[in-house]
């Protein structure tokens, strides 16, 4: 049994239990237990009908839990042990689970964990490993999240924007432990696009595919960060790019632009350039203008300054940077990059080093320190001096 196929069954099985009268929190716990049992036993003894097995195992777990709970409280078991097995509308169930798990009342880390478990069908242990926290901590985070949304009816209209934000967070967690969260986010986004008619869902999927296509070229020897301009473009995944571009075109044709479509358009323009020098920066600046209009985000303003620097020269980029909040992460790195291009190597080296000291991840710190070292080396050779 393929673990991926098994995981895909999880939201539908939760939906079946909820329709049989289980509350969401108990149903989700029961399905998680059945899932763990399936992972332990199926490789040796796979069932003929995986979904039916999972439903009946989860229902048994649910009844056991409910009985022991009612026994503890000294009350009667009120659950119908012989529920009807009517036709199942898995589509609506799954979409509702997306909305519930990314409910706006939940803090993002909790929404993310709950989505991975109830919609993604990952085990608590896998989610914990991917986030480098103890399993008990993750279990607690998930049960607190479920308590928080206990009063939310499953058929309440959902907020797609928070669902998309959660999926994008999952995507950006990348790869750690034995679970590829970027690939998982793409799977969940594909599923969402099949369930929802919203162009922004397609925009997010396109954005993920276009970024994912570059993954192999993004790190060099020893996990070194390779910036876009220096990436080996022959290692980009052209099939993923073609798929991302097609999905984006379909979304843009609906004429309801949003931030994910605009970001995907920028990623598509990068993907489209055979070499870094052939990048259509003028069009990229136009998309940043759109993106800024939609989001007003200071980070977009910062990235736009980089694009202006490429389109109209580093002085124009520095002028655009004047409108950007200098406290932003990466501000100094961007300024260093633009200054280096104007020929002001001394200030560039200084700012790269400063950016390296303030970087929030080790690969980024190492990359920026190396950039500082590279500019320093150029300075030394220009002066004709070498370190002792």
């Amino acid at each position: 049994m393929n673990e991926g196929l098994l995981r895909e069954l999880v939201p539908a099985v939760i939906g079946v239990l909820v329709r049989r009268g289980a509350d969401f929190a108990s149903a989700e716990d029961a399905v998680q237990e059945a899932l763990i049992k399936a992972l332990e036993t199926w490789s040796a003894d796979p069932p003929r009908d995986a979904k039916a097995w999972l439903i009946s195992a989860a229902w048994r777990k649910f009844l056991d839990a409910t009985r022991s709970e009612t026994a503890r409280r000294g009350r009667e078991v009120v659950v119908d042990a012989q529920p009807d097995l009517g036709p199942v509308s898995g589509v609506d169930d799954t979409l509702r689970l997306y909305f519930l798990c990314a409910h706006p009342s939940l803090p993002p880390p909790a929404a993310l964990a709950l989505t991975l478990r109830a919609v993604g069908g990952l085990t608590t242990k896998q989610i914990a490993t991917a986030h480098l926290v103890p399993e008990a901590t993750m279990a607690q985070r998930i049960s607190r999240a479920k308590r928080k949304i206990a009063g939310v009816p499953l058929d309440e209209p959902g907020d797609l924007a928070t669902v998309l934000r959660v999926l994008y967070l999952v995507f950006n967690e990348g790869y750690s432990g034995d679970v590829d969260l970027a690939a998982e986010a793409i799977r969940l986004a594909r599923q969402l696009v099949a369930l929802s008619d919203e162009p922004e869902a397609a925009g997010l999927l396109a954005l993920m595919l276009l970024h994912h296509a570059r993954r192999a070229s993004r790190t060099g020897d020893g996990g070194r960060l390779v910036p876009l301009a220096a990436q080996d473009r022959s290692r980009w995944d052209t099939a993923l790019i073609a798929e991302g571009v097609a999905i984006l075109q379909g979304a843009l044709a609906r004429d309801r632009l949003g931030e994910y479509q605009a970001q995907a358009a920028i990623a598509a323009l990068h993907a489209d350039a055979p070499t870094a020098d052939e990048t259509d920066w003028v069009q990229i600046v136009e998309w940043y203008d759109e993106l800024l209009r939609i989001t007003g985000s200071p980070i977009v303003r910062l990235n736009r300054a980089v694009a202006i620097g490429e389109a109209d020269g580093p002085q124009a980029g520095l002028a655009a940077l004047a409108d950007v909040d200098s406290c932003l992460p990466r501000y100094n790195a961007v300024r260093a990059y633009l200054l280096e291009r104007t020929g002001d190597l001394e200030r560039a080296a200084e700012l790269y080093a400063k950016a390296g000291r303030a970087a929030s991840s080790v690969p980024e710190r190492d990359h920026l320190t190396r950039e500082a070292a590279r500019v320093q080396q150029t300075l030394r050779s220009e002066r004709g001096t070498h370190p002792a």
């Binding site: 070194r224 390296g356 000291r357 303030a358 190492d366 190396r370 070292a373 590279r374 080396q377 370190p387």
Partner: protein, 135 residues
């Protein structure tokens, strides 16, 4: 037995090698250092002695509670003179001698000219969870 290996930005014994900050090295020297650190981590994973590793940003502050109803008191960012931790490893090894060996391995990370930095590392045993000879 678990040990904490502490790397200090400052506050340790006087350095034995006086080296320039890393941004003054050549890019190749930076790469060699980064690769050494990665290989060191990989070796610990392979030997089954790795528990945890974290690098710490230089930001932060000291914090304490104040009287009821008053907000917490903070002191910082850290003054230049104070001891400052850059990062740590937690290792689970069979003896103190092995912990010292691991720390020395880490301390031999290369700097300018490929020469070992010989940085001081603080090695501290962790209390064990259970009392000794509990059975």
């Amino acid at each position: 037995m678990k040990y904490l290996l502490l790397k200090h930005y400052r506050g340790g014994p006087a350095p034995v090698v006086d080296f320039l900050p890393m941004d003054q090295w050549t890019p190749e020297e930076v790469d060699a250092h980064v690769k050494y650190m990665q290989d060191f981590g990989d070796r610990l994973q392979e030997s089954g002695e790795f528990v945890d590793m974290q690098a710490l940003l230089p930001d932060g502050a000291f914090v304490r509670s104040d009287d009821a109803g008053r907000p917490p008191v903070t002191d910082g960012p850290f003054a230049e003179t104070k001891d400052l931790i850059a990062g740590y490893y937690v290792i689970d090894v069979e003896s103190w001698d092995r912990a010292v060996e691991v720390a020395a391995d880490l301390s031999a990370a290369p700097g300018p000219g490929g020469k070992p930095l010989h940085e001081w590392l603080e090695v501290r045993p962790l209390f064990s969870a259970a009392p000794a000879d509990a059975g």
